[in-house]
Subunit: 329 residues, 2 copies
């Protein structure tokens, strides 16, 4: 039986995808990244370019939350998936699945947010679909996207010695969703970080980037483990270098949540050749969405998996079982 944890990123989801989808589908790639790569987008080589292609459905609840809404999320998430494989997004598709009897004003608010985010990212929406169905209690949006890359940046590209950079404060999206869903006895200013990262990422594509990933479901822990495993390297990170706001840190402590496993929707993890690390950091920080970027660690052949230096020792950072907060995207 399928539980929410199967759709929350992490180990259960990957097992489900491997056992069900990858095992049973035979045509899984064209001439580039395909389903088996479990990367952020598939790619197709066409003449001297690569077409990147990705899809995401958005089932977040509530659909309006501090810092964003399902519309902003749907545009940003898909734009970011194209960006982290090194592609410049060309166009998005937009598919609405609307519960019967739904309030048209809510749809209008969502579409206006989609429009605003599409303009911010400078990416057009050129294809769409609308379905209305019963047996559904909240709107669902699917956005797919196509982009074009000169060079495909793969999860499997991390090299021994690469610097590992995170573009800003972690764990804000998932926490904002959780706090807007439950009644807590404290008030916070925590907002989702949801944003399209393509403009910031396009600024660094001429550097020697080895791999990129947006740490969404499963958080930084999931993204780093995937990069390490697919690249057959270890990653060491330093706890005191991980950018996180005091407020997010305190709230995680109070609620007993590990911020490393909480979803982000406006951050990117970058593995970059060490000679370009400082330049990469500087360029990220020049962009408003990258102002809190930090070099948080390095890739190494000396161990497998992800280790975190805590100041008093080393902690193994494993794949989360699933995001501790389901339905965040």
């Amino acid at each position: 039986m399928i539980t929410k944890m199967h759709g929350a990123g992490g180990r259960l989801m990957i097992e489900f995808i491997k056992n069900q989808i990858l095992k049973n589908i035979e045509l899984k790639k064209v001439n580039g990244l395909g389903l088996d790569d479990l990367d952020d987008a598939g790619t197709i080589k066409l003449d001297d370019k690569h077409i990147a292609f990705t899809t995401d459905s958005y089932t977040v609840k509530p659909i309006f939350f501090p810092g964003g809404d399902i519309g902003r999320l749907a545009v940003s998430g898909t734009v970011n998936d194209l960006s982290v494989v090194g592609a410049k997004p060309l166009a998005l598709s937009l598919a609405f699945i609307i519960p019967e009897g739904y309030d048209e004003e809510k749809i209008e608010r969502i579409i206006k947010s989609i429009n605003k985010t599409s303009k911010e990212a400078e990416v057009a929406i050129i294809a769409g679909d609308t379905k209305v169905t019963d047996g559904l209690d909240e709107i669902i949006i699917n956005t797919s996207g196509v982009g074009v890359a000169e060079k495909v940046i793969k999860d499997s590209g991390v090299k021994d010695g690469d610097a590992i950079i995170v573009s800003g404060n972690i764990a804000e999206h998932g926490l904002a969703i959780l706090l807007s869903r439950e009644e807590f006895e404290f008030e916070t200013n925590i907002k989702s970080d949801v944003a399209p990262l393509n403009k910031m990422i396009e600024n660094i594509l001429d550097l020697e980037i080895s791999a990129m990933k947006d740490p969404t479901r499963g958080g930084l822990a999931e993204a780093l483990n995937e990069l390490a495993e697919k690249s057959s390297v270890g990653i060491t990170i330093f706890e005191d270098k991980i950018p996180i706001s005091d407020e997010v840190s305190s709230v995680c402590e109070i609620l007993g949540l590990d911020p490393l496993t909480i979803a982000n929707e406006g951050k990117v993890v970058i593995a970059v050749d060490k000679k370009d690390a400082e330049e990469c950091l500087e360029r990220l920080r020049e962009h408003p969405l990258g102002k809190n970027a930090e070099i948080i660690g390095y890739a190494t052949k000396e161990h497998k998996g992800v280790l975190m230096e805590t100041g008093i020792g080393k902690r193994i950072i494993d794949y989360p079982i699933g995001d501790p907060i389901p339905r965040v995207c």
Copy 2:
């Protein structure tokens, strides 16, 4: 308030899309077909080629029906949308939205059908997404697709004098869904026609095709009206030329349904220059999916809209308000 008719093709859906989506989205095209064209796919000119891009969500109920299932539908529908703009499908994406507590065996059966149809169409699935959510009573699938076209075939291309061809018997998909949903006092052999048409359509792309459309939601009536309106021509069709099985015809009569308004999922309507009409018909009939193809009429400047010669007079075929059978796809 949104009703099922808003999602059933036809006039209500087009009004909703125009008033809500097209009005509020500003970036709607790149350099080709965009959202405002309301064509079967968007297109992007890239060097000397056109990338076609389309999306569809599938909410059909029941998910298993005579002649097919939601998996076969999800592959075929998206392959066909690429094919009718003149593109060769390159790759699909596959996004599952799964109700919490769903039966894993059903998913396996659907994925096996997706695999079979993907092999039949010879189109790979290179990107995917899985979400699990509560508040949903049946699985939903979104497939998006990318293809490449030498020349884009637009809905607006029908010319005065073109022959209008339908590739086979109409109204089978919608009727099969209806009959599998309700308890009727008669038994039939009616099966959905759901099938990927790309191989059949690739056989005719060197002919002078003016426009193509797959007559899904809203049926042949919807497809012909869209072609006529967008091309600023009239279309005359002959009732006795429309391919339809005796059984479908009888059941429609018993149930008081107009077969022209019922969805198809394995048919294409083609407007072709009259000099190529016989050749086009012949090539379609050579393919198993086109064996019942017929020239059903012609485009004309002598009237607007769609007229049907019935033998005893002319009947105006208007846009349906919505598909008489909702949630067929």
